[in-house]
Symmetry: C3
Subunit: 433 residues, 3 copies
């Protein structure tokens, strides 16, 4: 494993960028952010306590999903697991803080003050999710600085897009199917297209998952699968709507899990299942159901939506991703188009059908989808072009997908105790020879 010559690689940009950001955040908080006044009345205290009990468990579930579940899902690259986990964690924190600032300025700025509460943190966390999804398109081939610049651009664009879609167009999307999944997918693809331009990315030798990296990644999928209902239902109206959102998500994801096995097995000539299909297809139902989760639709429609989204996800991996790579030289490392794009569009289409009798609203849903797709793709292309700046230090091809570029980490071969073992084998042989 070659060491990277430190002279050729700008090592100080990352701490400088993050340090300045953290300092600016501190200043911003010192000037504008306060907590709510402690309430003197016992009734108010009960109210706050109830809010804590009704929101906090959902919030924790979502944190587990993003920090542990999504982090592990990204460790399928066998020599890039530490980077994937760390970058995901870093981007979540950065984006959440950045969204907190922007949302505070835009929506919650009253008399020179921003009142912070758990609900505002939750909303910022939702904004951060878009970044975590988008980076999936360029995972392993981008430097941390590039990812941070990408997050810096994506958060305000997301907030603008979400404002247009939800506030102006009045789109119903309780689980973020359109506003989060579709938006972040096409933003990520735009970035990838602009960053890698017309050059087709060759298959990197470190890109192929191993059994153990695939296993870790599947554990991540399962964690996401378990907690997904919390993500969809947290912002629902308590009571019937929330209950329905939980049930719909559970049903859709259960249908996805089984249909993924069917589709993956039929797709491959020898009937073997592909780990990548399982890791993504099982979650497709959760992506699609978000936009209709709290609507009063028949349970059978939920099952159908969950199954269909798993099918399009698996077909996406089988046919569309290779096609996009070949025809459009579009690189999509984690297949976010199959997990977030296609099922998201499917869900949006379902929502159009679900509110068809409502006339106007159906048009709004369709318009929201168009905005989420178009605006994000355009903004992604522009962001991707900015990421090409040389100072952001995109890693050279031969150092991609490798933890040792960013971390003081043991060489992987050593790490498995291999060198010594191979040496032992060799020595044993020597004696025999």
């Amino acid at each position: 494993m070659m060491a990277v010559p430190s002279s050729t690689y700008p090592r100080r940009l990352l701490p400088l960028f993050l340090g300045l950001f953290q300092g600016a955040l501190l200043l911003f908080f010192a000037l504008f952010v306060i907590y709510d006044e402690p309430s003197a009345q016992a009734e108010d205290t009960n109210l706050v306590a109830n809010q804590v009990y009704s929101t906090f468990p959902f919030f924790q579930d979502i944190q587990v999903m993003l920090v542990v579940g999504l982090g592990l899902l990204l460790t399928f690259l066998p020599r890039y697991g530490f980077s994937a986990l760390t970058h995901n964690f870093l981007l979540l924190n950065f984006s959440m803080q950045w969204a907190l600032v922007l949302q505070g300025l835009l929506h919650h700025f009253h008399h020179g003050q921003i009142h912070l509460d758990l609900h505002k943190l939750l909303i910022s966390e939702f904004a951060a999710v878009t970044v975590l999804i988008s980076v999936g398109a360029i995972l392993g081939r981008a430097s941390p600085c590039q990812l941070l610049v990408m997050a810096t651009c994506e958060i305000p664009i997301y907030l603008a897009s979400e404002w247009v879609i939800v506030t102006c167009l009045g789109v119903l999307d309780v689980g973020g199917t359109i506003t989060i999944h579709v938006f972040s997918c096409y933003f990520g693809l735009g970035v990838s297209k602009a960053l890698f331009k017309a050059t087709q990315q060759p298959l990197h030798p470190k890109e192929t998952p191993t059994t153990s990296s695939d296993l870790m990644s599947l554990v991540g999928t399962l964690i996401l699968w378990v907690f997904w209902p919390s993500f969809v239902a947290v912002l629902c109206q308590p009571g019937d709507a929330q209950h329905r959102a939980i049930l719909n998500t559970l049903l859709a994801m259960s249908a996805s899990a089984i249909t993924t096995v069917v589709a993956s097995s039929l797709l491959e000539r020898d009937g073997k299942l592909s780990p990548g299909h399982l890791q993504n297809g099982s979650l497709a139902g959760g992506v699609a159901i978000g936009v209709v989760a709290d609507m009063a639709m028949p349970p059978a429609a939920t099952l159908a939506l969950g199954s269909l989204s798993a099918v399009v996800c698996v077909l996406g991996f089988g046919f569309l991703t290779p096609l996009l790579r070949r025809k459009l030289t579009l690189h999509d490392q984690c297949g976010i188009h199959n997990l977030h794009g296609l099922p998201g569009i499917l869900g949006a289409a379902a929502s159009v059908v679900a509110v068809l009798w409502w006339g106007q609203q159906a048009l709004c849903q369709a318009a929201g989808l168009a905005v989420a797709t178009g605006a994000s793709l355009l903004a992604g292309l522009l962001t991707g072009a900015a990421l090409g700046l040389p100072c952001l230090a995109r890693p050279p091809e031969r150092l991609c997908f490798d933890d040792s570029l960013y971390f003081k980490i043991q060489d992987q071969a050593e790490s498995a105790g291999l060198d010594s073992s191979a040496e032992e084998g060799a020595l044993a042989l020597k004696e025999r020879v």
Copy 2:
């Protein structure tokens, strides 16, 4: 690693079976299943919200146990981890949906409609647990199709047995010790006996756990250990009974954890602990306590029960499993008899003692145990005979315990980067030679 000749192996049965099932489920849902009507009154809404808050966190805990905890526990087979995790996940979803249908038809069919709610999903999940436990007896030597057929048979038999035990006999068993653990253990052993007949299964070279597979499996145990109180307490009466069930489960499992170390250390001549004992014994208290968890018994009895169940579990691994294998040619891959059978019987016996002053009820508890043991063993033997059908494609011995039979997965040696490393070692040697 040899490739399986795809001509000799029926690859299309699995997707066909699952696809038809999913289609039939869709039809069934379309015809009969609806959600509760949204309630117009604010009071009702509050009621629903409270039910969500009181049930949903327990439900999520149980999902984590079954999907992540149990899944990881089964990854102790070093080359079969991906299969264990995926089959467990698939069986959970399949069995849950199948139980939903059957329970809907049997218990909740009113005026041609089945009203779906979170509680009914939870009950179906409990039914699915029996399948996940039973397959432990034949893990690694059965095809997915065999496992699915086993689930198809086990769910209705469980529902019948549970109806007899709880409804007819009035057995008290809030944590499912008799109805779930004892039942599924003897069902699984019956299947194993009938499937492998009188031939003693030889020790397979891929059967021995490695350090890293044992570590993953222990993480699974710990996840199960942490969330077990939710499993026992979720169906308790809220208030004192639920509080007591939580405390009893915590105490029993804590005693199990310590006693397992004592028993395992005393059993082995060199005093070293066996990973298998730790992975199972620590959970034995949770199995045994279920049937008495909400009863008003002294905390000391809880501790004693937890300790005793760990002792019988470890002794079971040390003496009974080898004996059963030798004398009865009974194969029990995961030792489900030691984790679910023996502690379950112990718990049932404890429940007889606990309600002894109640006369009649003590007899009922004993009768319930007899039904759970006898009926499940008989049904398991019949099911196992059916699994022997050639079309279900039991894998040949040399391909057992191997992920590559069902998954497009890297060879394990490659996956650890070994080939290249060994080659490097060899090349380095070559140069020296």
Copy 3:
């Protein structure tokens, strides 16, 4: 890998010690411990149910932190993962039960009875945390018997120290920064100093983390990071105080996560991040914030505290730990001084500032810190001297950091399938040669 001659190693002490303890606990429970009487009134039942719903989710979160999160964090030693996970689990159970007995006798003994409830279990769990932290100083070089004796000594000393600090001095410390983190850090360092005396511990070949052990450890960090707010907030007054504690912890830990990257990157000449910094620094904010979490301080101060604690943690790893090792021959395996000591002192200092306007209270906070530091160091030194008793079987240096000393576990090289592979490589070569 050499086998340990079983004659030279006292194998029966561990089961004897634990078995006697478990028996004595059983006796104690039989004589003194009861549950609360079931309450007949519906109102009381509602009250109990509400307490269960408000405490139990927090309790489960803390169990996940200690059993899974902390356990995984300690698996950074590549050949000692199974031991780290098991010893952590065993010590938690042992210490919790031991604390339950002592606290029952000291605080809750009324008319010859101790009423057990979830809150008392939670308090005992907090006591157990001190042991889990302290053992980090000597991880890998101490036998299980030594760790158990250490726990036996530490729990009563903690209870005494906590009584002095909280009850006598009236120190405010809702998240245990002073009473738990600072106390256990200096206790652990005292033990380490007395146990290893003036001999500097050489770097052991098995001490260096590998990529995969570092990855598992980071997963542990992330689990701790996610659930930390529950640990800090569980004992807060429900309502505003608890809400504030959750927000403060979230903010502080988010600032820690980002600042750790800044500090670690600046510290290393080549700008690469050190896994050890990330694993610990990200949590430093949670340690520091505990003592002020429920106070009405500005959010900006929380951010500053989180950032600062990450900086001192990383600097501690970079400069102080090597210095202490060289100058004071003080051995600190997991760097508990950097994660618990320095941020804890920082948090205590912040609490002095936060209550400065309150006069008297500021002095109390400072006095509490002094007691926690001084008493624990002294007690740790005495305990460490006792651990040196030959009968406690400190493992010889060459057998340290190795699972195979205590567990019937596959050799690590074998476990990765290496021997066979290296052999295959060698054989392949042979053919070529």
